[in-house]
Structures are given as C-alpha cells and as structure tokens.
C-alpha cells in the first residue's frame, strides 16, 4: 500500500438530497498522472474539493499518504497542492509576492522560500514575469501562476481541476507539457472534459458520471475500447451493399456518405486483405481503407449513457 499516495474510500457527498458524488473509491499511485474525466456537473470538482479538504465528505474517507484528511487535516493538506477550477490568485500582488505567500502558507522553511519561489517559477516558465502584477498577466500566464502555487512546496500530490480551460491552443500545449513534467516528480490528479488531453497527458484514467465511477483503467485500456472491429472503406464505384456483405466475416455495412462505407466485422480477424482483393477484382475503385477508430467522444458517450454496473 506504500505506493498509494492517495486513497479515497466509498466517498459520497450529498447536496440536500442530491448525490453529487456516490460511493467513489479509487487510489493514486506514486508518480502517475491520473486523469479524471466526466461531463460537466458529473462530480469531478466536488470530488477534488473533498480530496483537498475544501469540502467535507458526507460519507467515506480520504487518506493522503496514509493520513486521514478529516482526522488530521493539517498534516494531510501539507502533502497536497491544489489548483481549483477558478484559480485562486490575489491579482493585486506581483507573481513573486503571491508565490512567497503561498510558500509561507505551506510551511516552506523561511530560509528556503526564495529558493522555492525561484524553482516554481522556473518550472512554470514564469522567470521573466517575477515583478509583474498577476492582474496584468495573460490568461495562460495566470494559469501558470496557479500551477506554480500548487507545486511550490513540492507536495506528494498535485491536484489540478481543469487546468486548460479557457486557454488558446498554444498555451494548452505548453500547460500539458508542464503537467507531464510535474507528473515525473509528483503524483498528479487532473480533471478535464477534454478527451484527447487525457490521452496525451495521463497514465491512468477514470471516468465519472452522475457522481459514480463508470470506468477506470490504464490509458491503453481506454484505447483498446476505441479500436473496435470496424473498417472505413472508400469506393469510387461502389457496388450494392449486398455484395459487400458477401465477404467473409462482414456483419453489417453502413453507407456513411457517398462512396464511404463503414464495415462492421463480426470475427476477431479483420479481412482487410480480402476486401482489397475483391474490390480490385471487381473494379470498385478502392481509394481508402482504414480501421475506423471510435472517437474517444463516442466511448465517452457510451460509457456515460449506460447505467453503471
């Protein structure tokens, strides 16, 4: 169990009579990036607020590095760095001032504060922004300051709630790279509703919907689900669908748009070669053949629309 830096057991949270989070159990391994996926309002932020001691769980317990957060909140919280969805920045301060305060609040030894501030700025690429007021920084840089305050005390666990929301594509790429770097030294929980992000950044993923976990596994498991047994075939002189159905192993043919067919295969073996051979023989004018990868969005929709087991 020593490798689990964070464990949540049977976590539930009621708002009135409404279960925002229901019996969520999971753990975080040392040095991994865990993606926390879910549609808006699924309970991602609620879970994160509970993990960081901002919200008391109705039921269940949270252990941070083996310390119960309800029983010994101070000790538990000192192992966590948290960036909430709305970044908590004192905009009237400069980057240096703000990070110094963050370091002090997280019990960084007073002699090491300036070193810690420098290190955090370095990691987040904020070096040249030291004396700027946070208010005057661009969105992306403000987000970096938010991340810097979460890692300033070198916590075991870094929890980032939708860190890339509202950033432009270049900033998103930079922030993702930054998160990957952080993931090398710390355990990271990252919540998002952007699916490709999970694939790019995370080692493991769990999907939450309507307060309950509907999927958890490694990123490869998720990818596995994506590669169904479907082929996308483009034919410039398409035959009748009946003819394609005659090919061994084909169970269903959909006409996606003119000349593009989605061919469902019932067997494990994908008869791509046969399809190519037949279409050449019969002159169907094959111009495209590729596995039809179910988009993550589709998996996501599938998972979140099926009732959890």
């Amino acid at each position: 169990m020593a490798t689990h830096t964070l464990e949540a057991m049977d976590l539930s949270r009621l708002f009135g009579t409404n279960h925002a989070v229901k019996n969520v159990t999971f753990h975080l391994n040392k040095g991994e990036v865990l993606g926390f996926l879910g549609p808006n309002g699924a309970g991602k932020s609620t879970t994160m607020r509970m993990l960081t001691g901002n919200l008391a769980p109705t039921e269940g317990s949270i252990r941070v590095c083996g310390i119960d957060i309800v029983e010994r909140p101070k000790a538990a919280k000192s192992n966590i760095g948290y960036l909430p969805e709305m970044r908590p920045l004192y905009k009237e301060l400069t980057v240096d001032e703000f990070l110094t305060i963050a370091a002090r609040f997280h019990n960084v030894n007073s002699r090491n504060i300036s070193k810690a501030v420098e290190a955090a700025k370095d990691k987040c690429g904020l070096g040249h922004m030291s004396k700027r007021l946070i208010e005057n920084l661009s969105n992306g840089y403000q987000q970096r300051v938010g991340i810097a305050q979460a890692i300033i005390h070198e916590p075991e666990i870094v929890i980032l709630d939708e860190p890339t929301v509202g950033l432009d594509p270049i900033q998103i790429r930079e922030i993702r790279k930054l998160i990957k770097d952080i993931g090398k030294k710390h355990s990271v929980i990252l919540s998002t509703h952007i699916l490709p992000e999970v694939e790019m950044v995370c080692d493991r993923v769990q999907i939450i919907d309507k307060g309950a976990l509907v999927f958890h596994g490694s990123i490869d498991d998720l990818k596995q689900q994506r590669k169904g047994n479907k082929l996308l075939v483009g034919l410039s002189k398409p035959p009748a669908i009946k003819e394609i159905l005659l090919i061994e192993g084909v169970s269903l043919v959909e006409n996606v748009e003119h000349g593009i067919f989605r061919i469902h295969i019932k067997s494990e073996y994908i008869p791509a070669e046969e399809i190519v051979a037949i279409s050449i023989k019969k002159g169907w004018g094959l111009f495209h053949i590729a596995p039809d990868i179910t988009s993550l969005e589709d998996i996501f929709v599938q998972l979140t629309q099926v009732q959890p087991k």
């Binding site: 607020r49 001691g53 901002n54 101070k74 908590p88 301060l93 609040f105 997280h106």
Partner: protein, 248 residues
C-alpha cells in the same frame, strides 16, 4: 501561521489604494480634530468659564479627538472589514487558504490580527499626535494610555463584528452596510436608553463599556466585556466558514 495570514492581509491592504486612502483620510480627520481641539481650548478656557469648571488641555483635546474617533471608526471599520472574507469569497480565493495546512481558526485570527495591526497604526498615531501637547503643557499620559487602550479594544470589537458580517456574504458592499448598520444601531440605541443607566441594553452596549476608558480608567470588567465580544464574533466567523466546508 497566524502571523503569516496577518502579513498577507497587510500586504493586500497596502497593495490596493483602499488601505492608503482610508489611512490618510482618517489621519487627516484626526489631525483636524486635534487642531480644532487646541484652538477651542484657548477660546473656551480663556475666561468665560469659572476656574473650578476648567479642565486640563489633555482631557479637553483628548475628548475632542477620541470622541471623534469613536464615530469615525464606526464608519471606517466596516470599510476595512468588508473585504476580508467576502472578497475572497467573490474572487474564489478561499480554496487557496482552505487547502493550505492552516486551520480555520488560524485563518480568522490571522485576518483579525492583520486588521488590528493596521488599525493599531491609527491608534498609535493619535497617541503620538496628542503626546505632542507635552511640548507646551504637562499632559496626563495615563489618560492618553487609557483612552488608547480603550479605543484599541473598541475598534477590535468593531473589526470582529465586521469580519463576521464579511463572512456572511460574497458582496463586500453588503458586508460593509450590514456591519455599519449594526454598529450604528448600537450607538443610537445606547443614546436612546441613556436616560436609564440600569437598562439591560447597557450591559451589551459597546459605547457604555467604552465610556470608562474615555475617562482614562481601565476597568477590568469592561476589558473582559470587549474580549468576550471579540471572541464571540470571531467564533461565529469560524463557524460560518466551517459550515461552508460542511454544506458546500
């Protein structure tokens, strides 16, 4: 950790013009009252009053300045306390404090201490200003100390009440109005009941308990009253923040 929170509060109050403006306006106000007091002293005491009814310059000017301080602080303290928690709530910066290894009590006490240090600058300023009378006259420092101590307790009580109202809302302006109304109502009521010195209201009235200090007397029962008043509202504030964590 309380000190760290207090430092942060002071830093933010001086990082915006608000702190400087309030500080300078109040200093201007007190300076004005002081000059006014000194001028009036010479006019009033120069003949028309019988020698037996004459008072010393310390008490005369002191009363003018400390009397004004009571009123000015009723207006100024809500303006200073209003942002303490409600602004953090509005800017969603409270999670920054809540997820740091700091207890709620430390947060509230730190914020309170930060404000007290800020207000302490004013109280010290008034004390030093009045002490300058000593250049021309032999003044009663005991009277000044008693008054300063009383004023400090009074503004600390105002602050505690203001922090509590600030924790109730995410609109600083509403917090300011609420705490001003509460303080003002207390002032008005104690004047209203002034004719009956044994009325129960005087037991809970800030002004009544402040009065002994204005004579330069430090009465332990009044000191305890103020400490209880402060403790009550700070506890309520902690409870209020805790209920945030519990009920979301």
């Amino acid at each position: 950790m309380i000190i760290n929170i207090a430092r942060k509060e002071l830093k933010t109050v001086f990082a915006s013009p608000m702190g400087w403006i309030i500080l300078s306006l109040l200093m201007f106000g007190f300076g004005w009252m002081y000059l006014d007091g000194v001028n009036n002293y010479f006019q009033i005491m120069s003949g028309s009053i019988r020698p037996a009814e004459r008072v010393g310059v310390t008490i005369f000017v002191g009363q003018t300045v400390y009397g004004a301080a009571n009123f000015l602080m009723t207006v100024a303290t809500p303006l200073l306390t209003m942002r303490l928690i409600s602004e953090e709530r509005r800017n969603q910066t409270l999670p920054f404090l809540f997820s740091a290894p700091i207890t709620l009590t430390e947060i509230v006490l730190g914020k309170f201490l930060g404000l007290i240090i800020f207000l302490g600058i004013l109280v010290a300023y008034i004390f030093i200003m009045l002490s300058t009378l000593n250049i021309w006259a032999d003044i009663d420092f005991g009277y000044l100390l008693g008054n300063s101590f009383g004023l400090m307790l009074l503004v600390a009580s105002f602050s505690a009440l203001g922090i509590y109202f600030s924790s109730l809302t995410n609109q600083p302006i509403i917090a300011a109005i609420l705490s001003f109304i509460a303080l003002f109502a207390m002032g008005v009521l104690s004047t209203y009941f002034a004719s009956d010195p044994n009325h129960w209201f005087h037991f809970i009235s800030l002004n009544k308990h402040y009065q002994s200090f204005t004579r330069g007397v430090i009465d332990s029962s009044d000191v305890i009253y103020f400490i209880l008043f402060i403790a009550t509202f700070l506890t309520l504030t902690v409870r209020r923040l805790d209920s945030d964590r519990l009920s979301g």
